[in-house]
Structures are given as C-alpha cells and as structure tokens.
Amino acid sequence: MQLTLEFGGGLELLCQSVKIHNVDVDQAGEEKLTMRHLLSWVRTNLIKERPEMFMKGDTVRPGVLVLVNDCDWELSGQLDTTLDDKDVVVFISTLHGG
C-alpha cells in the first residue's frame, strides 16, 4: 500500500532528518492496514535512533500528535484506524518553545 508519511516538530531527527517519506507498506496478508500495524512498520523501517522518542508501549509517546489525512487520529479510532492507498499520515511532536 502506497502511503505518504511525514515527520515534524523534531521527530524527523529520528529518521535521518528526512521529513517526507513515500513508502510502500506490506499489508502482511491482512485485509486492512491499521495504524497499529503502521506504527510497528515505521519503528522497524524508518526510525534510525532513539525509538523511545517515537513510541511508548504499542503507541506513540506522549506529546506526539498523529494525523491521518489532516485529522487527529483520536477522531478515527487511534490504533484501530484503517488506512487506504495514498493516505497521508503525519507524526508531529508538540513544540514548547517561543
């Protein structure tokens, strides 16, 4: 499945400072790709350092917003959100500076 993944707010530093990743995620025989599956795929394939800065347990660490097609994943079922081809998923760390 073709997806566009974007990292921001400093999370891009965990994947060699590349913000936008056009990826092809293997559905592993499942009918629908869920965010749960995508997170573990990202952790294995894109996160190159300090994985604890991206995930805690089986979800993202506190302070990270996940947006599926510009919409907070809280509104689409968090880890159970299902993804379609060409979806855009954004991972953004909240900023505190000013």
Partner: protein
C-alpha cells in the same frame, strides 16, 4: 467626615447635571435622526456624491468611538465584516499576553496597535543581546532591563490611548488566578512545558479562552483552547512528554521570523475572539514549516469527557490548581535557567581556571569538545578535537590515537600518560561523555566544569558566548 460629605454631594450634583445634558443631546440626536429619515424617504436614497448632512457625523458618536478613535482605527472601520461593532468590542476587551519573547513581541505590538482596551504583559526576564534577532519589541537600549518594562514602553509609543498593565513576575500557581482573572482572553507566548499546562489549567478554572502558540527551529504551531466547547491543552496532551522531547530555543536554535509569524497569528486569533468576528482556530491546529514553506491546518479532537482539567468529572478547582506542582508533573523547571547536571565525583572534574593553568604549564593532554559539529564551527578552544557526544562511542579509537600522538610529541616515556579533558557548552554533556569514557576504559578522563561558558566567564572574557 463633613468635608467628605460636601465633596460627595458636589459630585452627585455634577453627575445629575451631566445626565441632564446627556438626555438633552440624545433628544437632539433623535430629532436629527427623524429629520434625516424624512430626507432619505423623500430622496429615495442619499446620493453618494453629495456632501453628507452634518447630522451623520453626530450619528457616528452613538457607538462611543471618539473622533480620534474613528481616525486612528478608520481602516478597521472600513471593513464591512469588522466595522464599528468589531472595533467597539475590541476597545472594551482585555487581553493578557504571558511572555514578552519571540511570540509575545509581535503579538503585543499588533494588539496594542489595533486598540485592545486593556493589554497586560507578564514576564520576569530581562532583555539580552541574543534575544533581539527575534524579540522585535525590544530595542538595544533596553538590554539588561525588564522585558515587561521594555515591551510596555514600545506598546505605549505605538498607542497611548489604551491601558497597558505591567506584571513583572513569573506566572506561578500562587499568582496566576489573580492576574488572569482580570482579563477576558489569555495569549500563551511562553517557552516551556510546565507553563503551558499551568496557563491552560488556569484558563479552564477561570473559563477564559486561550490563544496558544509555539515555535522552535523552523517550525511553529498555533491553536485556540478552551473556547466555545473546544478542547483544552490537557485534552490534547493528557500526559506530559519526556523532558528530552522538550527542546528550548536556547539549545536548539530558532529562526527569528518563525515565532514572528506565529506571534502575529496569535494576535489575529486574539483579536477575532475579542471582537467576536470570524471563526477562531478552535478544534483545529495550524502547523507551520518555514523551511518547506508549508502551512497545514488540521482537525483536532474535541473536548475530552475524561479530561482531568475540563472533563465531565474533573475536580480541577481553584484550590486544586493552587496546590498543583507543575514542575514535578512535567519534570522540567518553569524558569528558563539551564540545567546544571551533577553526574560526576569532584575527582573527575576540573575548573576552567585549572585547565588554563595546566595548558600554560605545558601538560601533555588531549581536549575533546563533545558539542555538535555546527556548535563547534561557531567557536572552539585551540587544539580541541571535536567528537560530538552522539558519535563518541564510535570514535574511541580516534581518541586513543590522539592520546598516543600527544604522548609521542611530548616525549613521555612508558608509564606516564597524556591527560584527557572533555568540554562542552555548559558542562552537562561533558559529564555525560566522561561518564561514558570511564565505562569504556578511559578512567582518567575529566570534564571541565561549566564548559565554554565558564571559560568565557572566568578565564577569557573575550571568548565568544552564544
């Protein structure tokens, strides 16, 4: 007491007199309005090319704007969607800006200029030279002086007709309720996580809308919390992030224009809420990426029923707020004082003065600077070897050979070794590095206490700091 009685009766007389005059003027206005209506009815419409009758000027004063205000804010009044009503609302509103830094600077300048009735500024900090590239409200002449004083002076210089209130103190649980309760709207222009939770919770307790902005590096974020049933900061971030994820501008850097852009947008959102015009950025968040010139506006969750601050069963009272320990909750300090780590025993550390002496005595040694490469390019000590902390473990052999070269150069026999010193910007990373080096067998490694900042302060005042 008697003189007080006489005094108050005089005031009452004056009030009665003015009321009578007011009634008389209102009567005259009504008469003129009636006349105007007659004229308009007879002509069909008032011709736009003809001179308006004199009565229209007086009609304009019904909204309470003085002739000077009409002239000053004329470009606002000319906006059909904003107009007299928007400006009147603005003039009656009060807005508190917490933080007179990178975000607060443009926010305050615009809010003062646009005619917010009462504008409060909270900050405990002083103006420093390294603030000026982004904190554009402050001028060089104010370096070393209070940011609140400097910002208030700049606001008054732009608009002397509004009220500017100075709060020269850090916002804490002990004073936040009292300060914030005096304003209609709060603008969060602070720079740290505990302040953001503190301000949001206080807004929930007091029922105030919160215009929240943040900027770091080349990115910015903006949203409106606790407004019209929308979420609060805790609805979005119920658990604080790890401290390692809370970067500061003084460590990570920030492009000056970025907080400028976000601060301007904060002024805009505050102005919209204050004037009750337009659709505020509530339930949505603006994400700004300066480098790729991208602005994304995303939909965020609504108010969470389980939110500890604003949820259905939340018990977040004034009392609870005042006793809440925000520094403990977020594991980070409210003030901007940099971390002073104490990781190593005294025997594994030397002062910058002592290091200088050892260099002067010609001691055989290698100095490792563990700052990132782009820091090293700004300034470094002579002969320092740059080994960024993140690459330390991969470069142990390079350190070994540097020590061996130094021993040969100084002609040291077997048994005596060159010393190994580690330096960084402030003396935190150097301790982490020495700790790591000890574990990897470099048992004599020592860190230079306080880093390059201490060198500049205690050894060489001409050494650049940043």
């Amino acid at each position: 007491m008697e003189s007080n009685g006489v005094h108050s009766s005089l005031i009452l007389q004056e009030i009665e007199k003015l009321k009578a005059e007011k009634k008389d003027i209102e009567n005259r206005i009504s008469v003129l309005e009636a006349q105007l209506n007659d004229v308009v009815a007879k002509e069909g419409t008032v011709s736009s090319s003809s001179c308006p009758p004199l009565s229209i000027t007086y009609l304009g004063l019904e909204h309470g704007l003085s002739p000077e205000m009409i002239y000053r804010y004329s470009r606002h009044l000319l906006l059909p969607n904003f107009g007299v009503q928007g400006q009147s609302n603005l003039l009656k509103s009060s807005i508190l800006v917490v933080g007179a830094g990178g975000l607060g600077s443009p926010a305050l300048l615009y809010l003062a200029a646009c005619g917010v009735g009462r504008l409060g500024i909270v900050d405990h900090d002083v103006v420093e030279l390294n603030n000026l590239h982004r904190q554009i409200i402050h001028a060089e002449a104010y370096i070393g002086q209070s940011k609140v004083k400097s910002a208030a002076a700049a606001c008054r210089a732009i608009n002397s007709s509004i009220q500017i209130v100075e709060h020269k103190e850090a916002l804490r649980t002990s004073n936040a309720l009292e300060i914030m309760s005096k304003y209609d709207i709060v603008v969060d222009a602070t720079d740290n996580a505990p302040s953001r939770y503190l301000i949001s919770d206080c807004c929930v307790v007091l029922g105030k809308p919160l215009i929240s902005g943040a900027a770091l590096g080349l990115e910015g974020q903006l949203t409106v919390y606790n407004h019209n049933g929308g979420p609060c900061y805790r609805c979005l971030f119920p658990t604080p992030p790890p401290t390692t994820a809370c970067q500061r501008c003084s460590d990570s850097g920030v492009l000056g224009v970025v907080p400028g852009v976000i601060g301007c947008l904060q002024a805009l959102e505050a102005l919209k809420v204050a004037s009750a015009v337009g659709e505020p950025l509530s339930g949505r968040m603006l994400l700004f990426d300066a480098l790729s010139a991208r602005i994304r506006i995303v939909k965020i969750r609504g108010r969470s029923l389980n939110c500890e601050a604003c949820g259905e069963n939340a018990a977040f009272t004034r009392q609870f707020f005042q006793n809440f320990d925000y520094e403990k909750f977020t594991q980070s300090p409210l003030s901007t004082t940099p971390l002073k780590l104490k990781l190593l025993p005294e025997t594994a550390r030397i002062s910058s003065e002592e290091y200088k002496e050892r260099v002067a005595n010609g001691e055989a040694h290698v100095l490792i600077d563990v700052r990132p490469a782009h820091h090293f390019k700004i300034v470094s000590l002579p002969k320092a070897l740059n080994v960024p902390l993140s690459t330390l473990e991969a470069q142990l052999s390079a350190i070994s050979s540097a020590l061996k070269d130094e021993e040969e150069r100084k002609g040291l026999g077997s048994g005596s070794n060159a010393s190994l010193y580690v330096i960084c910007r402030r003396g935190n990373d150097s301790q982490r590095a020495v700790d790591c080096l000890h574990k990897m067998g470099f048992s004599s490694a020592k860190d230079i206490i306080g880093g390059l900042e201490s060198w500049a302060q205690n050894v060489d005042p001409n050494f650049p700091t940043y």
